[in-house]
C-alpha cells in the first residue's frame, strides 16, 4: 500500500482518526446495525467522507 502513496497521503493516513464505516457495523448479526450500515454507506458515499478527521486545535479562551 505504502508504495503507491505519496508521503503526504501516508502521513494523512497516519493521522486519520476513526470515523465509523459501514464495514464496522456489519457482521453483528443484528438487522438494526445492518440498516445503520446501509445509512452510513449512503451518507459516506454521498458526501465523499474520506475517513479523515484530524483535529485542528485552536483556542481562544476569553
Amino acid at each position: 500500500m505504502a508504495n503507491s502513496l505519496t508521503v503526504k497521503e501516508e502521513y494523512i493516513l497516519e493521522l486519520t482518526q476513526k470515523t465509523i464505516t459501514s464495514h464496522d457495523l456489519k457482521g453483528f448479526n443484528n438487522p438494526v446495525l445492518d440498516r445503520l450500515a446501509k445509512s452510513v454507506e449512503k451518507r459516506n458515499n454521498s458526501i465523499d467522507v474520506t475517513n479523515y478527521s484530524r483535529m485542528h486545535n485552536r483556542h481562544n479562551r476569553s
Binding site: Q17, K18, N30, N57
Partner: protein, 724 residues
C-alpha cells in the same frame, strides 16, 4: 388518521445567520420579526399535504385536528372541490418550475381521505399529473385509518400509483384511543384493512404508524406487529405541549421515558428486524446521520398544508398549540407557494428548525445535534411560545443515551481492549513522554530520509509539516542559529524554522525576538516553571521531555480578543502561545495555563495513537456551554481532558505560596474548569461512542477530579415549569 405519512423526510440542516424572533400570543398566529434578509430561512417545499376531506369517520381522543385547541375544521367544507385541486396543481406547477424542483410528494390527508373516495383520489392524481408531471416527478401517497379499505379501493389506489400508509396503535387493547363516533374501538375494521394491504404484497404499502400509549407494554406491541412483517413501523408520542403535557406524566414523571427505554432495548435486542423509523433515526444520529422524522433534528420547512377549502396552514400539528395555531394568510386562490414560503410564521418555523432557533437550554445540551430541540409544535409554551425545549425533552434525551449505550456495547464486541494505563501519571507519564518524543523523531527521520531532506538537527514537527506541504519549491530548512533560545534546557524557544509556522500562517504570526511581547513572554517563563512545578513536578518533567518547540505568537485572525494558544496534531510536540491579548500582557499564570493546555492536547494526541478512545471521532457532535457551535466527539474529548487538568492546575495555584497569584481568580478558574470537565465527562459517558479504553479514560478523569456522580442523567429541559 392524523399523521404525516411515513414517506416524508426532513431535509438536512441548513445553516443560517438569522434573526431575532418575537412572538405574539393568544389566538393569532405567531409573528416573527425578521431582521435579516428574508430569503435566509424561507420554506423549501418538497411535499404538500392535501386535506381532501375535513371530516373523519373516527373520533380518536388524541387527534390534533379535532381534540385539541384548534377547532377550525368546523368551518371547512367536508370535501375538497375540483376547482381547488386544479388551482393547487397550477400553484404547484408554478413553484416547481420557478424553483427547479425535480421531485415532489403529494400526500392525501384529512380527516379521513378515503371519505373523498378512491375514485376521486384517482381523478385528483390525474388532474395534478396532467398539469405538473411534465415538469417534475410526482409521488402520491395516502395516510388512512384503514377502516374504509376494501380490495377494490386498494386496487384503484395502487393502480394509480398512490402509496398507502396506515395508522393503527397496536392490538385491540392498544387501539382504545382510536374509536368511532359511537365510542367503539375501531380495531376490527382497521385491522381488516391492514390485512388486505398486507395481502397485496405491494411496495406501495409503506407501513404503519402507531401512537404510543405508555399503559400498553412494548412487548405486547412487538408481539402484535412482529408477525405482520410490515415494511415499516413508526412510534409517535402523543401530541403535547408545555400547556397540555403528556397525559399521565404529572402523576408518573418517568411514564413515557420508561416506556421508550424498554421499547428501544426490546427492539434492538429482540425485534431488530422491524424497521422503526424513529428508532432507526435515533441510532443513526449517533453516527451523524440527520433525522428522518419530525420528532428530532434540524431541517427546513419542506411540507406545506392545503386545507379542504384551499387555504394554507403551517404543519397542522400546530393545531395543538392554540386556536388557529396552524393558520396562515391566503390560499391557493390568492397566494403562490413562494409567497407562502416567505410568510413570517413559516420563517419562524424554519428558524426553530435551525441551531440558532432552539431554546437556550438546548444550545447547552449534549444531544442538540441529534434532537434539534425536538418537534416544533411540542415546544409550545404559554409564556415562551416556541422558544422552549420539546415537552418530551427528558424522554428524547434518555432514549438517545440508551441508543448510544446499545451501539457502544455492540461495537465493543469486536475490539480487544489493549492499554496499560488510563491516564499516565508519575513514572509512567515520564516514560511515555520519552517514548512519544522518540517515536515522533523516528517518524520525522523516516520521512526526511525518503524525501532526502537535510534535516539533521531540525525539530521533527518542521519535517512533518514540510512533508505535508505541496507546491513548495524551496526544500531547505532555515534554522541556523548560533545560540538557540530554550526553555527548561531542552525546549526550543522561538525557533526561526519557517516550517513550524508556514502551514498556520493564516492563523498565527510568530513574534519577533526583539519585540516587547516576546520579551515579556520569555521573562515570565521562570514563573510558569515554578507554577507548573508546584502543580505537578512530573507534568513539568514530561513537558520538558515531550515538547520540542515553544513559539510565542500573536493571532492573525480578526476580532481575536481572548487569551489565545494553538497546537495541532500535524505539528506534534510544538506549541504556540500568545503572551498578550491586544498588546496587553497576560499574567504569568495564564501563560502557564496556555502552555499546559497545549501540552495536554499533545499528550492526548499521543495517547490516541496508541489506541482509540472513540469508535468515531467525528460523531456524534457535541454542543458545549463554553463554546459556540458543535464539536466533534474527538474535539469534545480533548476539551474535557484538558479542562480536567486545568481545574487541578488552578486549584493548585489557589493554594500556593506565590504571593502574586490572585487567589479568587484561581479559585474561580478551578471551579469553572471543573464544571466544564463535569459537563464533558457526563456528556461523553452517555452520548459518545467510547471504546473500552475511552470509558476507562473518562473514569480516570472523574477520579482525578474526585467526581462521583458523573453518570447522572438529566435533560436540561426536564423541569420546565408552566405558570398557569
Amino acid at each position: 388518521m392524523k399523521r404525516l405519512t411515513l414517506g416524508i423526510k426532513k431535509s438536512n440542516f441548513h445553516k443560517a445567520t438569522l434573526i431575532t424572533t418575537t412572538s405574539t400570543r393568544g389566538d393569532k398566529p405567531m409573528q416573527a420579526e425578521i431582521t435579516q434578509p428574508s430569503e435566509v430561512r424561507k420554506g423549501k417545499y418538497l411535499a404538500a399535504l392535501l386535506k381532501v376531506a375535513s371530516r373523519c369517520n373516527l373520533n380518536c381522543d388524541y387527534c390534533y385536528v379535532y381534540q385539541h385547541k384548534d377547532q377550525s375544521w368546523e368551518n371547512q367544507p367536508k370535501l375538497m372541490a375540483k376547482g381547488t385541486v386544479q388551482k393547487f396543481a397550477e400553484r404547484l406547477k408554478e413553484y416547481v418550475l420557478k424553483n427547479e424542483v425535480t421531485s415532489f410528494d403529494v400526500i392525501f390527508h384529512g380527516g379521513e381521505p378515503l371519505l373523498y373516495t378512491a375514485e376521486n383520489l384517482v381523478k385528483t392524481v390525474q388532474l395534478i399529473e396532467e398539469t405538473v408531471a411534465p415538469f417534475c416527478q410526482l409521488n402520491f401517497s395516502l395516510q388512512t385509518n384503514g377502516t374504509l379499505l376494501t380490495d377494490e379501493v386498494i386496487d384503484n389506489l395502487f393502480t394509480a400509483n398512490i402509496s398507502i400508509s396506515m395508522s393503527l396503535d397496536g392490538p385491540q387493547n392498544a387501539n382504545h384511543h382510536r374509536v368511532d363516533h359511537k365510542g367503539e374501538n375501531s380495531f376490527n375494521e382497521a385491522f381488516s384493512g391492514l390485512d388486505k394491504l398486507i395481502a397485496t404484497d405491494s411496495d406501495l404499502f409503506k407501513g404503519v404508524i402507531a401512537v404510543v400509549d405508555p399503559k400498553v407494554s412494548p412487548k405486547d406491541l412487538f408481539q402484535f406487529f412482529d408477525p405482520l412483517n410490515l415494511p415499516r413501523l413508526d412510534f409517535l408520542l402523543p401530541d403535547s405541549t408545555h400547556l397540555n403535557p403528556p397525559v399521565g406524566r404529572n402523576r408518573d414523571k418517568g411514564l413515557y421515558t420508561n416506556w421508550l427505554l424498554e421499547a428501544f432495548e426490546l427492539w434492538f435486542k429482540d425485534y431488530p428486524h422491524i424497521p422503526i423509523r424513529w428508532f432507526d433515526s435515533i441510532l443513526a444520529s449517533r453516527v451523524g446521520i440527520p433525522s428522518q422524522t419530525d420528532v428530532m433534528g434540524f431541517g427546513d420547512v419542506s411540507l406545506l398544508v392545503v386545507e379542504t377549502d384551499g387555504s394554507y396552514t403551517d404543519h397542522d400539528v400546530f393545531k395543538i398549540t392554540k386556536p388557529n395555531g396552524a393558520s396562515l394568510d391566503g390560499s391557493v386562490f390568492s397566494n403562490s407557494f413562494d409567497k407562502l414560503s416567505d410568510h413570517a410564521v413559516i420563517k419562524e418555523h424554519s428558524y426553530r428548525l435551525s441551531i440558532e432557533g432552539v431554546a437556550e437550554e438546548c444550545k447547552k445540551c449534549p444531544v442538540l445535534d441529534a434532537c434539534g430541540g425536538g418537534s416544533v409544535p411540542h415546544r409550545y409554551h404559554p409564556e415562551r411560545g416556541l422558544d422552549a425545549p420539546t415537552v418530551y425533552c427528558q424522554e428524547i434525551y434518555q432514549v438517545i443515551a440508551k441508543a448510544t449505550k446499545l451501539l457502544r456495547e455492540s461495537l465493543k464486541i469486536d475490539v480487544e481492549a489493549n492499554y496499560s494505563y488510563a491516564v499516565p501519571k508519575g513514572e509512567t507519564l515520564v516514560l511515555k513522554a520519552n517514548e512519544w518524543a522518540e517515536e515522533t523523531l523516528m517518524r520525522a527521520r523516516r520521512i526526511a530520509d525518503s524525501k532526502k531532506y537535510h534535516a539533521e538537527g531540525v525539530t521533527p514537527a518542521a519535517v512533518l509539516l514540510r512533508a505535508m506541504s505541496t507546491n513548495i519549491v524551496d526544500f531547505d530548512f532555515t534554522r541556523e542559529e548560533s545560540e538557540p533560545l530554550n526553555w527548561l534546557g531542552s525546549i526550543y524557544l522561538q525557533s526561526n524554522e519557517k516550517w513550524l509556522v508556514e502551514p498556520f500562517k493564516e492563523s498565527i504570526s510568530v513574534l519577533d525576538r526583539e519585540s516587547e511581547p516576546f520579551k515579556y513572554g520569555q521573562a515570565n517563563l521562570k514563573k510558569v516553571e515554578n507554577y507548573l512545578n508546584h502543580f505537578n513536578p512530573t507534568v513539568l518533567e514530561s513537558m520538558r521531555i515531550l515538547i520540542s518547540d515553544l513559539l510565542f505568537v500573536r493571532s492573525t485572525i480578526e476580532n481575536e480578543s481572548g487569551i489565545f494558544s494553538f497546537s495541532d496534531d500535524t505539528a506534534p510536540n510544538a506549541i504556540y502561545i500568545a503572551p498578550t491579548v491586544n498588546q496587553v500582557p497576560i499574567p504569568a499564570e495564564d501563560i502557564g495555563d496556555s502552555i499546559l493546555h497545549e501540552y495536554l492536547h499533545q499528550v492526548l494526541y499521543h495517547m490516541g495513537r496508541e489506541g482509540d478512545f472513540l469508535f468515531d471521532h467525528s460523531f456524534p457532535r457535541f454542543s458545549a456551554p463554553w463554546r459556540e457551535g458543535l464539536r466533534s466527539s474527538g474535539g469534545f474529548l480533548h476539551g474535557t481532558f484538558v479542562f480536567t487538568h486545568l481545574a487541578l492546575y488552578w486549584e493548585a495555584l489557589s493554594d500556593s505560596p506565590f504571593e502574586e497569584i490572585d487567589r479568587t481568580k484561581a479559585e474561580n478558574n478551578a471551579k469553572k474548569f471543573k464544571k466544564q470537565a463535569m459537563y464533558g465527562l457526563n456528556s461523553l459517558y452517555h452520548f459518545a461512542l467510547l471504546t473500552e479504553r475511552g470509558e476507562a479514560l473518562i473514569e480516570a478523569l472523574a477520579e482525578k477530579l474526585d467526581i462521583q456522580d458523573y453518570k447522572y442523567i438529566e435533560a436540561p429541559g426536564k423541569d420546565l415549569k408552566v405558570e398557569l
